[in-house]
């Protein structure tokens, strides 16, 4: 199981966590300043093709960061599911981007670079930061009138791989080649518009470009971990949990959890639709196993107090879904012990016995055993048992909420 990213909150006190971010930020600022990003004239020159330093630094950083990230994920050291990938809000992103572009050419900075300009006493940088603070204020005061636009055109955690339907390695190679092509073109432009003598530039950059292409091609052949690989990493530990019945919670525990307002309970009913229509627990969501892969990103993005309980008629199908979700790094996933059959056994009232549950048959594994006279869904008492009537029942609680590893907001959140 990939060790990284770390659950910082579980390892360090808050002060320590913030110290780590302060150190990362310090390194960030140091590099920006050392690359000349504190000077608006250098930043602006790129837009007139005279000096493409900023452009080069920026895309080199993207390529190097990308290659290192996906090398780490390919070898199972880092979990791509748990790192923050900016969600796509297409139109607000595009319009916001254009406004930023105009701000860039007028102001000569972007927010990160303006901070280093401020730190090195560039007066124009200080004015940019102050203007920036006013811009933020203006945004928070006005955005509610455009909330629909701001929150619209949402595509979730959409990656370039999904957008183009290409394997990760191929996308990485294309991005790398595109960057190298842009560097080559950029240097030509600098020669024409900036009167720069490119022949004096260090030859090491050819080696760097070569290394980047080789790594990108290697990543195509290594590939990114599949769901089978991901399960194999954790199989020993998780299969033991299944066998020791550490994650199968009894109906009583689920009932108590339903009444626990501190938890965000997500009940996933993974049975066929006809069974779900016959009977299901109130507030459970009907999700077929084949739909689970498309929902993983949303599950991981849920708040840290989210708890998933999966249920099928017995346990077989729920266990398969549990394995999938756990392998995809969804935290706090449990199975309803004995499934819906056990639930109805436990909570059926005279009402169910008369109208809903009717007779019981011996059926094959993971099939609904009750013969219902009509499809009542959650319109019978067993769908939402009263806690007071069952509070006295004792059980051994198994749910242990784990701290969330994945960040729930990105860099500019």
């Amino acid at each position: 199981m990939p060790l990284f990213p770390l659950t910082l909150d579980a390892i360090f006190l808050k002060v320590g966590v913030y110290a780590i971010f302060l150190i990362i930020g310090t390194a960030f600022g140091y590099v920006l300043e050392s690359s000349g990003f504190n000077k608006s004239t250098i930043l602006a020159k790129q837009f007139y093709f005279k000096d493409l330093t900023v452009f080069k630094v920026f895309f080199t950083a993207i390529v190097v960061g990308m290659l290192m990230l996906f090398t780490a994920t390919a070898f199972g050291i880092l979990d791509y599911n748990l790192i923050w990938v900016n969600p796509t809000y297409l139109w607000s992103g595009l319009v916001g981007g254009l406004v930023m572009g105009v701000g860039f050419i007028i102001g000569g900075f972007c927010p990160g670079t303006s901070l280093t300009a401020l730190a090195t006493l560039k007066v124009d940088g200080i004015f940019f930061v102050v203007g920036g603070l006013v811009g933020i204020f203006a945004f928070s005061e006005t955005i509610d009138k455009a909330a629909h636009f701001f929150n619209g055109s949402y595509f979730g955690r959409l990656t370039l791989m999904e957008l183009f339907g290409l394997p990760t390695g191929v996308v990485i190679l294309l991005v790398t080649l595109m960057a190298i092509f842009m560097f080559w073109g950029g240097e030509k432009l600098e020669e024409i518009y900036g009167n720069k003598d490119i022949s004096k530039a260090p030859k090491g950059r050819y080696i760097g470009a070569g290394v980047a292409v080789v790594v990108a091609i290697a990543l195509i052949f290594i590939g990114q971990p599949t769901i089978a690989d991901r399960w194999a990493w954790i199989e020993e530990e998780k299969q033991a949990q299944l066998d020791n019945r550490e994650i199968q919670i009894v109906p009583e525990e689920l009932l108590h959890t339903m009444h626990d307002s501190k938890l965000n309970l997500v009940m996933l009913d993974v049975r066929d639709e006809k069974d779900y229509n016959l009977f299901h627990i109130t507030d459970s969501d009907h999700v077929l196993p084949e739909e689970i892969p498309t929902l993983i990103d949303q599950f991981i993005a849920l708040p840290a107090n989210s708890l998933f309980v999966i249920m099928s008629n017995d346990e077989t199908r729920a266990t398969e879904v549990w394995k999938y979700m756990v392998a995809e790094s969804v935290p706090n996933v449990y199975i309803l012990e004995g499934g819906i059959n056990n639930w109805v056994d436990t909570y059926a009232t005279p009402y169910e016995n008369e109208y809903c549950a009717g007779e019981k048959e011996d059926r094959a594994d993971d099939e609904f055993k009750y013969i219902l006279t009509s499809a009542l869904g959650d319109h019978c008492p067993a769908a939402y048992p009263h806690l007071e009537e069952h509070e006295h029942v004792e059980y051994i609680p198994k749910i242990k909420m784990k701290l969330k590893r994945a960040p729930s907001a990105g860099g500019c959140g």
Binding site: G25, V57, T60, F104, P111, L115, P407, G411, G413
Partner: protein, 193 residues
């Protein structure tokens, strides 16, 4: 017997600590590809350890919310966008991004000191005055962060961090930023040339 250590006399009177600190010889900036590679390593390290990338405007945003929460707390609790950040008991500064932004200032300052580049100055094109440059910097900053809030991230949080993690939306934002700047570069050529 005590040996007397002779302190060599300085030829000239030494400047004070601060004067020496701010008058170090100015060193040239790094090569762009070297700077980019190191920035890429910093970006990777951030993702590797914490799961989050880099950012700048988010920290500023929380600082603004923090100030508003002191000056007009009731107002903060009425504006939906601010409630999430500083509503009620929430402390706007209780978020990692604030410390990345503060670190960026600190890191910029350290690098500036070490390389002798901390100087009170205004960088501008030859055709405008300092005061005009300040006014444009103010307007540019205002527009930039407004756009950054709208796009949910700036050059760091969207284009750089999202670019490296191959987020489709971040690549769209990145192209829009550079597209917007190149599109209007000719209009504002007097500012810089």
């Amino acid at each position: 017997m005590t040996t007397e250590i002779e302190i060599p006399k300085e030829p000239q009177k030494k400047d004070g600590f601060f004067k020496r600190l701010f008058n170090r010889p100015t060193k040239p900036y790094w090569n762009a590809y070297v700077g980019g590679t190191i920035l890429g390593i910093v970006l990777f390290t951030s993702f590797f350890l914490t799961g989050s990338g880099l950012g700048a405007s988010g920290g500023l945003s929380r600082i603004v919310a923090f100030i508003e929460d002191i000056v007009v707390p009731g107002h903060v609790d009425r504006v939906p966008y601010l409630i999430k950040v500083a509503g009620g008991e929430l402390n706007a500064l209780d978020n990692w991004i604030v410390y990345v932004s503060l670190g960026a200032i600190l890191g910029g300052f350290i690098s500036g000191i070490v390389n002798g580049r901390v100087k009170l100055e205004t960088n501008r094109g030859p055709q405008i005055t300092d005061k005009q440059r300040w006014a444009f910097a103010f307007i540019g900053g205002l527009l930039f962060t407004y756009g950054a809030r709208l796009a949910r991230g700036c050059t760091s949080g969207q284009a750089l961090s999202g670019g490296a993690t191959l987020s489709a939306g971040s690549w769209a934002v990145m192209m829009a930023i550079f597209g917007g700047a190149y599109l209007f570069a000719y209009t504002f050529r007097k500012l810089w040339n």
